[in-house]
């Protein structure tokens, strides 16, 4: 048995990196082999993570609670409560979590490890002194690894077929009217780099490492979107994608800097590190992560329970207010306050007695190893929003969603892997991973962002005719669903949908890729139609995907969307003012069903609208259809449980529920409960506990409403595009303005061009102008002034100074001319002069001496 199976996942992460390096060095000449190497690498990663999952599953609680509660040692049990991220059992019991984490068996999850990437020697150790690279494997990581590696493997296989034409030495690019050399290996090089970065992102245990991967996946997406860089459209899209992402990344950096400054670490969960103690021997000591530092535990550092009257703060942000409202925050004393401006940070070793209801709490404004510290509440909110901004960029949420549709310029497998299944989902994953960091305000922002996004994207998808763009907007919309779910506290629902969506959206993209491949890179649905006969496998598999995304019962999408609607409903019930958060998704479900079926009908049914395309259309080779079939299978069954027709018996959901942050568990005996979300969860899980709410069971209600709405969408699509009762053209004429508005994607690009791009360019030109004419103007001007001055100076010299000099010279000359008569040239006169001089000098000297003395 492995001592720490976490390393399996590390190995899985490194495999694609190795293949990347190999291909980078020598791939150029390997041709088809390059594809095999990359595929082998990611396939190996899948196998490794499967083994890792096999290690993990016994602990996952999938096999009933009883098993885990009996099978696992108490310490294991207790430790579940330790860092508030990973799953706590419902019957969580109050253990000494910190001490237990120290004692825990490394073979038990969460599996951890890491090394210091950069550190400073000043400041208190453990407080903003080290940036780590570490791995943290819990249930979420495991399931994400399985999903990513599986989908990626399938897509790699698909790509070996789809990119085959890149193998020939000369490729003609129809859009750029250029003939270029094929770059088959380069594609797989980038893909490998992407897989490494993505897995690294999921593996990371700290925001810093996540940020690194964040940027790396971003650059991979840039490279792959710009794969056909001969096309200006492609390079533009690549730039747009990366720069838009950079907007989010800037937010991410700021969020990290805030947390780093006030909490002194970027590590999310608690970590055990080997520390050299005073006596020089290595001891395992616990370093609380961000979660434990921000959310109040029910134990102090020494495992002693905290005073009971504080239990309403357990698992919450503890807001405090300075007792004397001094501006100088350092070592002032605080009191617990409902809406205090500060939040306690439990960074250092603190004792129960530090924290009491009545007496004041001493806390420093700097992160400290001793006692408590505080951070401003606004900073906490800002940090949350900053991190979320990163997710907005990556997951193409409103208002940064504009890059994703353009990203369809990349090859279709790229769209499937990066821009549907994995990278764009990374934002959602991060929100789920960093969930305990988000204050209620932030969660609300997340929820609304999701709601707005899903509606806007779906509405645009209604009118798109490019098959890939429809899928792109549907991706944005689905990501919006996930964000919404997370925002309303549906942690499970969000990640659940993330997983299911990964499969069926990858399926849909690959299907569209197969269609495009079959139609010789024709992407316009208006030129397709009636392709069912030509490519049956593609059609059927895509139908499965369409049903899944539309939320047809027994398809994976059904379960996850149901969960989302339930969460939204539960939230809305508790916060009626946010009713939109339920209505928007409800409408959008219908829209989703509509545009997806529209896509399918337009592509596969009816009569061919373009004979040329139709004739050349053909089914794809097996390397492309096989992944389709596998994915179709998964997108049907991935969410099943027993019995399948019970939407809430989904094994995957159960698994995730087990991984949910503990403070979301609304159990009577769970000491850590979030004041803001726990009630919502509680209502979602046990509505009977809320007799005052006069509503039918939220599950039935939300499920029925969603189903109804999806059915409406389906019927509409069928009537219009299958039976053809309604003429879409006529509808467009009728709602011309709405149509153009949607066709122009709500004019986002134009707006951004006017409020972002143009101003930036103008500002740039202003800077340049300022340099050229103001600063350099000053410099050159001063130089010119100096020259002028020197000229005047020259004149002055000539006129006045030289004049004076010459004058004196003349005078002296005159005197001398007179004096020269003294030079009689007569020896005897000279003798006389000598004598006279002697006399004169003597006289003078004696006179002076007389004066002096």
């Amino acid at each position: 048995m492995l001592e720490n199976p976490g390393w399996l996942f590390v190995a899985a992460t490194l495999l694609p990196l190795i293949s990347f390096i190999l291909l980078l060095i020598g791939g150029k000449h390997w041709g088809r082999v390059a594809g095999w190497i990359a595929t082998a690498a990611i396939g190996g990663a899948f196998i490794l993570s499967a083994i890792g999952a096999a290690y993990y599953l016994p602990h996952s609680g999938l096999f009933g609670h009883s098993h885990s509660s009996e099978a696992k040692p108490a310490s294991q049990e207790e430790h579940r409560g330790a860092s508030h991220t990973h799953g706590a059992r419902r019957e969580h019991n109050h253990g000494h979590e910190y001490s237990s984490l120290l004692e825990r068996d490394p073979a038990e999850p969460p599996w951890q490890g890491g090394l210091v990437w950069a550190q400073t020697s000043s400041g208190e150790s453990g407080q903003a002194t080290a940036l780590r690279l570490g791995f943290y494997v819990d249930g979420l990581t495991v399931i994400m690894f399985l999903m990513i590696t599986l989908v990626a493997t399938l897509i790699h296989i698909f790509s070996t077929g789809y990119m085959a034409e890149e193998l020939q030495p000369q490729v003609e690019d129809h859009q750029a009217y250029a003939v270029r050399a094929g770059r088959y290996p380069r594609f797989f090089t980038y893909m490998s780099l992407f897989c490494f970065s993505m897995l690294n992102l999921v593996l990371a245990d700290n925001l810093f490492q996540i940020f690194i991967s964040w940027e790396l996946v971003g650059i991979c997406s840039y490279l792959l979107i710009g794969y056909y860089y001969e096309r200006s459209s492609a390079s533009n899209a690549a730039n747009k994608a990366f720069i838009t992402n950079r907007v989010g990344d800037a937010g991410f950096i700021i969020g990290s800097a805030i947390l780093w400054t006030y909490c002194g670490t970027l590590t999310l969960p608690d970590t055990v590190r080997l520390q050299r103690n005073a006596k020089g021997e290595m001891v395992r000591e616990l370093e609380p992560g961000l979660f434990s530092r921000l959310r109040m535990p029910n134990k102090d550092t020494h495992g002693d329970p905290l005073p009971g009257q504080l239990d309403k703060y357990f698992g919450n942000f503890v807001r405090v207010a300075p007792i004397k409202p001094a501006a100088e925050v350092a070592d002032t004393r605080y009191r617990l306050a409902e809406n205090g401006g500060w939040v306690l940070v439990f960074g250092g070793h603190f004792h129960g007695e530090d924290l009491t209801e009545e007496t004041a709490i001493a806390a420093s404004s700097a992160p400290t190893n001793m006692g408590l510290s505080v951070m401003p509440y606004w900073a906490l909110v800002l940090a949350g929003i900053g991190v979320f901004l990163g997710c907005v960029g990556k997951s193409a949420q409103f208002p940064l969603h504009v890059w994703l549709p353009d990203a369809m310029e990349g090859p279709t497998p790229v769209s499937a892997l990066i821009h549907a299944a994995t990278m764009v989902a990374a934002g959602v994953y991060l929100v789920g991973r960093a969930f305990p960091l988000f204050a209620p305000e932030v969660l609300l922002v997340i929820a609304y962002t999701g709601a707005v996004t899903l509606f806007i994207a779906a509405s645009i998808a209604l009118v798109q005719t490019d098959i890939k763009r429809v899928l792109a907007y549907s991706t944005v919309s689905q990501l919006g669903f996930m964000m919404l779910a997370l925002g309303v506290g549906g942690w499970i629902a969000g990640l659940f949908h993330l997983l299911t969506h990964a499969f069926f959206k990858a399926l849909l993209f690959l299907g569209s890729g197969s269609v495009i491949h079959g139609c010789h890179h024709e992407q316009d649905m208006m030129k397709m139609g009636g392709l069912y006969e030509k490519m049956k496998i593609t059609a059927v598999t895509m139908l499965a995907g369409v049903l899944a995304i539309a939320g047809a019962p027994l398809f994976s999408g059904w379960y996850s969307k149901d969960a989302i609607m339930v969460s939204a409903l539960a939230f809305v019930v508790h916060h009626p003012q946010h009713i939109l958060l339920f209505l928007l998704p409800l409408i959008t479900v219908a829209m989703t069903a509509f545009y997806m079926f529209r896509l399918w009908y337009l592509t596969f049914t009816g009569k061919p609208r373009d004979e040329h395309v139709y004739e050349h259309a053909h089914e794809s080779p097996w390397v492309m259809t096989l992944p389709l079939i596998v994915l179709a299978l998964f997108s049907v069954v991935v969410a099943w449980g027993w019995p399948p027709w019970d939407p809430h018996a989904s094994a995957l959901e159960h698994y995730l529920d087990h991984e949910m942050p503990i403070y979301l568990h609304p159990d009577a005996d769970n000491p850590l409960q979030d004041a803001y979300l726990a009630p919502v969860r509680k209502y979602a899980e046990q509505p009977e506990a809320f007799p005052e709410i006069q509503l039918p069971d939220p599950h039935t209600l939300a499920g029925l409403l969603a189903l109804l709405s999806a059915g409406i969408g389906f019927l509409l699509a069928t009537t219009v595009y299958y039976w053809g009762y309604l003429d879409p053209e006529a509808t467009q004429q009728q709602f011309a303005r709405v149509y153009t508005f949607l066709w122009e994607k709500w004019h986002f690009d134009a707006v951004y061009r006017w409020i972002a791009v143009r101003p930036a360019m103008v500002l740039a030109r202003i800077c340049r102008w300022f340099d050229l004419y103001v600063i350099d103007g000053l410099v050159d001007g001063s130089a010119r002034a100096t020259v002028k001055i020197s000229q005047w100076d020259g004149k002055f010299d000539l006129g006045i100074i030289d004049g004076l000099v010459n004058l004196t010279a003349d005078i002296i000359y005159a005197v001398a001319a007179w004096l020269r008569h003294v030079q009689t040239g007569l020896l005897r006169n000279y003798v006389l002069f000598l004598a006279l001089a002697a006399v004169g000098i003597f006289a003078l000297v004696s006179y002076i001496l007389a004066l002096v003395g």
Partner: protein, 633 residues
């Protein structure tokens, strides 16, 4: 008798002197190569730079070993000051030590000017960087055809100047090398430059000369201060707080003063930078104590406890007397001197608004000289901050931290925007340099209290790392520009494009280098910026609560603009499908060899910055501790 100074071979003296003067020796050698033997001249120059590189690598290894020995034994012993003190103390007893990387010889005894060299974690990486970039630059100047001999000789003299600037610990010596650096550069730009070379050269010369004049003034002002009072003060402190360090410092200073008085002087005037550090530190410390006493007194005044008031007044007067007697650099003096030094070094950095010499100089200078300019000369500014301006005038540095950071941020943002508007490839790179060096200034500026010193440490580490990273990436970019300029004979971004298909290898290398400049994680540009921003949020200068936060947001937001102009440039130059001319030869093997080390190092530093930080950080931490200790911690 192992330490007999006659038979004794002081290894580090010869090593460091070799690093400085080997280039000039080869410059001499060049004089004897027969006319027209251009290749032999180039090979000779290359040999000179390569040997210098080897020597600097030796220096690096020695420094690493030295650090290791001290890591185990004495935590503070590795600092330059400590080593110099020990050297001075033992010098009187048993002659020199050959492993302490500090070498001191009298030069102009009349003015107490010494030939004083030393290396630590701040200078060693820059020395190695300089040596490396010089080798690459020689490689890049292989295709310079006119007046090869003169060109190479000036180049080698330039290298001597740079090395000396980094290794000199005597202010006078430093200044001499600083000037030695200036003149060859002027000729290299002015004679081998582009069409507007005269303008650029004059501009460069005037700007830099202005800077060095300011530095000169400060230097002379420092020299005229008599440091004798410091001796008694250090002795007092050594008695009050029995710390090994203080004792050593006092003893060494005693040594210096006695030696000086022995040669008939009554006062101690010196150009010794390390000694000036101590003076500045102690002066600032006295000022701080005095102000504390003042504040305390005012607080006590509120409570009408006559006897406590009396105590406070007593305390204040005693401190005031101490200050009167021992404070050599008064706050006002420090302010003036710091501003002089700061402007002097900020011009080199270059800091907006003193930056306009840089684009012109870069655009007109030949490629290798641009590499040197961007790679090394800009680092002189940051090095000057760390080595001279900050430690000698800590009081002013702390009081002005807000302004320094502000101008750093202005440089960051302004440079990025200006870069975006450029159409000349070289100019764009030049402005990106301005933007990147802004991070250096910001990182150095974010002075914080001792209890949160780790954040400032991140800032300074970021600054140092950014210097090295920029010292790799921007020469790389200039080299890449030069390569394409040799083929197209123009640098107009709008007339390029499609190089990716024409020269794939070249494109690959330059894309990596440009991404490094963009601050992509995994490449060398990232850690510096990230560290700096991490540290900046915490920056709360006295009086402005929000400064650090706004600066952090601006600095972080600039990565968007950076990505904007870099990606846009890549798109305009490499992407697309119409190469500007039908047949573009792929880069030659020589060019590849020049680019390769940069690429490799860029990746190495990006992936594992500790490869550098581990032996740089201790010196920075020590510096930071000294500085922070001036404000009461």
């Amino acid at each position: 008798m192992p330490y007999d100074t006659f038979r004794y071979f002081e290894y580090d003296l010869w090593l460091m002197s070799g690093i400085i003067f080997v280039p000039s020796l080869f410059a001499l050698l060049l004089l004897f190569i027969p006319k027209g033997q251009k290749n032999w001249m180039r090979i000779t120059a290359l040999a000179g730079t390569v040997i210098t590189l080897l020597l600097s690598v030796f220096l690096l290894v020695d420094w690493y070993q030295l650090l290791d020995t001290y890591r185990l034994t004495d935590q503070t012993g590795h600092t330059l000051a400590a080593r110099a003190d020990i050297a001075r103390i033992r010098e009187s007893a048993r002659g020199h030590l050959d492993t302490d990387l500090v070498a001191r010889r009298p030069w102009i005894a009349r003015f107490n000017i010494e030939y004083f060299l030393g290396a630590d974690g701040i200078s060693v990486p820059l020395v190695v960087l300089t040596a490396l970039i010089c080798v690459l630059a020689i490689g890049a100047s292989w295709n310079i055809e006119n007046a090869v001999r003169g060109y190479l000789i000036l180049f080698l003299i330039l290298e001597t100047g740079m090395m000396g600037t980094f290794l000199a610990l005597d202010f006078f010596l430093f200044y001499v090398f600083w000037e030695v650096m200036l003149l060859p550069m002027y000729f290299l730009i002015g004679l081998w430059g582009g069409p507007r070379r005269e303008y650029a050269a004059i501009k460069f010369f005037l700007f830099t000369l202005l800077g060095s004049v300011l530095i000169l003034i400060a230097m002379i002002a420092f020299y005229f201060a008599d440091l004798t009072p410091l001796r008694d003060w250090l002795e007092q402190r050594a008695q009050q707080t029995p710390s090994e360090e203080l004792r050593r410092e006092a003893q060494a200073l005693e040594q210096a003063v006695r030696q000086r008085h022995g040669s008939g002087e009554t006062a101690l005037h010196t150009f010794d930078i390390l000694l000036l550090h101590k003076v500045g530190r102690e002066s600032a410390r006295l000022e701080w104590d005095y102000q504390q006493a003042e504040r305390q007194y005012e607080e006590v005044l509120a409570s009408r406890d006559s006897q406590r008031i009396e105590q406070a007044r007593q305390h204040r007067t005693t401190i005031a007397q101490l200050k009167e007697r021992h404070q050599i650099f008064s706050p006002t003096f420090q302010f003036i001197m710091f501003v002089l030094l700061f402007i002097g070094f900020a011009i080199k950095l270059p800091m907006v608004p003193f930056h306009t010499w840089l684009p012109d100089a870069h655009v007109e200078a030949p490629t290798p000289i641009s590499m040197i300019l961007a790679g090394i000369l800009l680092k002189m500014g940051g090095y000057g901050f760390l080595r001279i301006a900050y430690p000698i005038c800590p009081w002013a540095a702390y009081a002005l931290a807000w302004w320094i950071a502000l101008f750093g941020v202005i440089s960051i943002v302004y440079g990025a925007f200006a870069a975006m508007a450029q159409t000349d490839f070289k100019k764009l790179v030049a402005y990106s340099s301005i933007s990147h060096m802004g991070y250096v200034q910001l990182g150095i500026a974010i002075w914080t209290s001792m209890e949160r010193s780790q954040f400032w440490n991140w800032g300074i580490n970021g600054a140092m790392f950014q210097m090295l990273a920029h010292g790799l990436s921007s020469p790389g970019m200039f080299f890449m520009v030069g390569v394409i300029y040799d083929r197209l004979h123009h640098r107009d971004l709008h007339r390029m494009g499609g190089l990716a298909n024409a020269m794939p290898l070249y494109t690959g290398l330059s894309v990596i280098i440009f991404f490094a400049a963009m601050g992509l994680p995994g490449l060398c540009g990232f850690p510096g910026e990230f560290f700096t921003v991490l540290g900046t949020w915490n920056f709360t200068p006295p009086g402005s609560e929000w400064a650090g936060k706004i600066f952090a947001i601006l600095a972080a937001a600039t990565v968007i603009i950076t990505a904007g102009y870099i990606l846009w440039t890549l798109q305009r130059v490499y992407l697309g499908h119409r190469p500007p001319s039908p047949d573009l030869p792929e880069i030659t093997f020589r060019e590849f060899l020049c680019a390769l080390p940069i690429v490799v190092l860029a990746i190495l530093l990006g992936v594992w910055p500790r490869a550098v930080l581990d032996w740089v950080e201790p010196s920075l931490a020590a510096l930071l501790r000294d500085l922070a200790s001036t404000h009461g911690w």
